[in-house]
């Protein structure tokens, strides 16, 4: 019984390491074969429609609501200390530093990441990738790389839209609904939010998340067993793995970026 458990654990570890190696090789192949994605930019633009434009609605609506909730909750808390005017700071800093990149990335993972995995997985299951190979066209260059770059380009734009919508939502609730002074809302926000330290770091975060999510989604799709069960399992794994990766990376990046501040 115990022996079997240990054997099982060992097997799983070896499998995991093996998969990790394969994933790394896959990622390098994607980077190496990215020429086509830029030479024929139309391919990447097409994928930006599917991963970026189609995620717009969910990103904008979620951003607005998250900002509105921040406005309400922030006001409740700040009121206790008599510093309602700092609401702008609270809303803007939480969105630009954390919530914008992270929540947008989580939404992107479940909206676009799962779609990418399912599409690549089905293309593999229906032998479309093999057919492409037999037509002397490299599927990594033609199918995978444009999707990868489209995701990397889309992610920071989506995160910025999410943050902007969130600030607007916080403004709606805080200033228009509750009646925090409009002038101090904006001016306090502006004096506290730093371009390099906060906004640029937020953009860097979202680019890293974009790389992680699309790489995981593409790999899971490419590696999926060519069955209905395999593709559905891979889609689930994409959402779970990339969400965890986003949160873990967020911790690491935050530790690096803001360590000097405090």
């Amino acid at each position: 019984m115990l022996r079997r458990a240990i054997e099982n654990l060992g097997n799983r570890t070896i499998q995991g390491v093996w998969r990790m190696g394969f994933a790394t090789r896959f990622f390098l192949a994607v980077l190496l074969h990215s020429g086509t994605a830029f030479r024929r930019f139309g391919l990447t633009i097409r994928e930006m429609y599917f991963s970026g434009v189609l995620s717009l609605i969910i990103i904008l609506v979620s951003g607005l609501f998250v900002g509105m909730v921040l406005g309400l909750q922030g006001y409740e808390t700040l009121q206790t200390y008599g510093s309602e005017e700092a609401l702008g700071i609270l809303v803007a800093l939480s969105l630009v530093r954390e919530l914008g990149p992270v929540v947008a990335a989580l939404l992107f993972a479940s909206r676009a990441g799962s779609a990418i995995t399912a599409e690549i997985g089905l293309m593999k299951a229906t032998e479309q990738l093999s057919a492409m190979e037999m037509m002397a066209v490299d599927p990594i260059a033609r199918v995978v790389a444009p999707r990868f770059w489209a995701g990397v380009f889309s992610m920071p734009l989506l995160a910025a839209l999410f943050s902007a919508m969130g600030v607007f939502g916080g403004y709606l609730v805080g200033v228009q609904l509750i009646g925090v002074d409009e002038g101090s809302f904006w001016s306090q926000m502006q004096s506290a939010v730093d371009f390099e330290q906060d906004i640029l770091n937020g953009v860097i975060k979202s680019v890293v998340f974009g790389v992680a999510i699309t790489a995981i989604a593409l790999f899971e799709g490419y590696d999926a067993p060519p069955t209905a069960e395999g593709v559905s399992g891979a889609t689930t794994r994409t959402v779970v793995t990339s969400s965890l990766a986003v949160l873990a990376l967020d911790f690491v990046l935050t530790a690096f970026m803001f360590r000097g501040l405090n």
Partner: protein, 270 residues
Amino acid sequence: MHPDNLVEIAGVAFGYGARPVLKGINLTARRGQVVAIMGSSGCGKTTLLRLIGGQIKPDEGTVRVAGESVGELDQAGLYRLRRKMGMLFQFGALFTDMSVFDNVAFQLREHTDLPEDAIRDLVLMKLNAVGLRGAAQLMPAELSGGMARRVALARAIALDPMLVMYDEPFAGLDPISLGVTGNLIRRLTDTLGLTSLLVTHDVQESLKIVDYVYFVSEGVIVAEGTAEEIKASGLPYVHQFVHGEADGPVPFHYPAPPYAADLGLEVRRA
């Protein structure tokens, strides 16, 4: 290598991991012929096609196509050779995110610098050859199985290859589509000067159109000959296959312990 032979396979063995699939296959396909590779499901026929296409490399022996040893080519050489090959996958493997027209135009756009006008003319010619010029703007999801197979065929011959491989071209087709597809393979081979290699287990349909047949069983070639020779063959395996008998050298039952033991009858008796 004989100049008439387009494909020459000599002593090829291949296995997935520890499980051997092919154990020493010798096979040739002459230019302009339709050659069929037959055998029951899972006997390694598709593996053979993948070896010829260079998607996998043989463990032993050589696969030569037009004089080049496929297993020893590098990526660039392989892609150069594959431009002269067409392959028809089992269910067509059409690109589902493109229209029929774009599917057939795919290789022309990827591999040539032809202007869009010329591509349009070429694509319509290929689609006309398979009788689907009118379906150019449909999406693959709107096609029946037989039509999808024909579009895939048009796509496979888009660059005028010298060799076209078919993986189970008859699987899952109604009798009319079956006849249409069979005739199409024969006609395209003759008019375009192709060599066709088909992997199938549909004996009746393929025997109508092929020049030469190889029978594969358990990783080796058990019989070969022209269509007439095969029909007249006295070999028990070929006889069972051609006449579709349920039991014979290929047993109906998957290997299992004695029936009585499985049902627990012996235990009860004891």
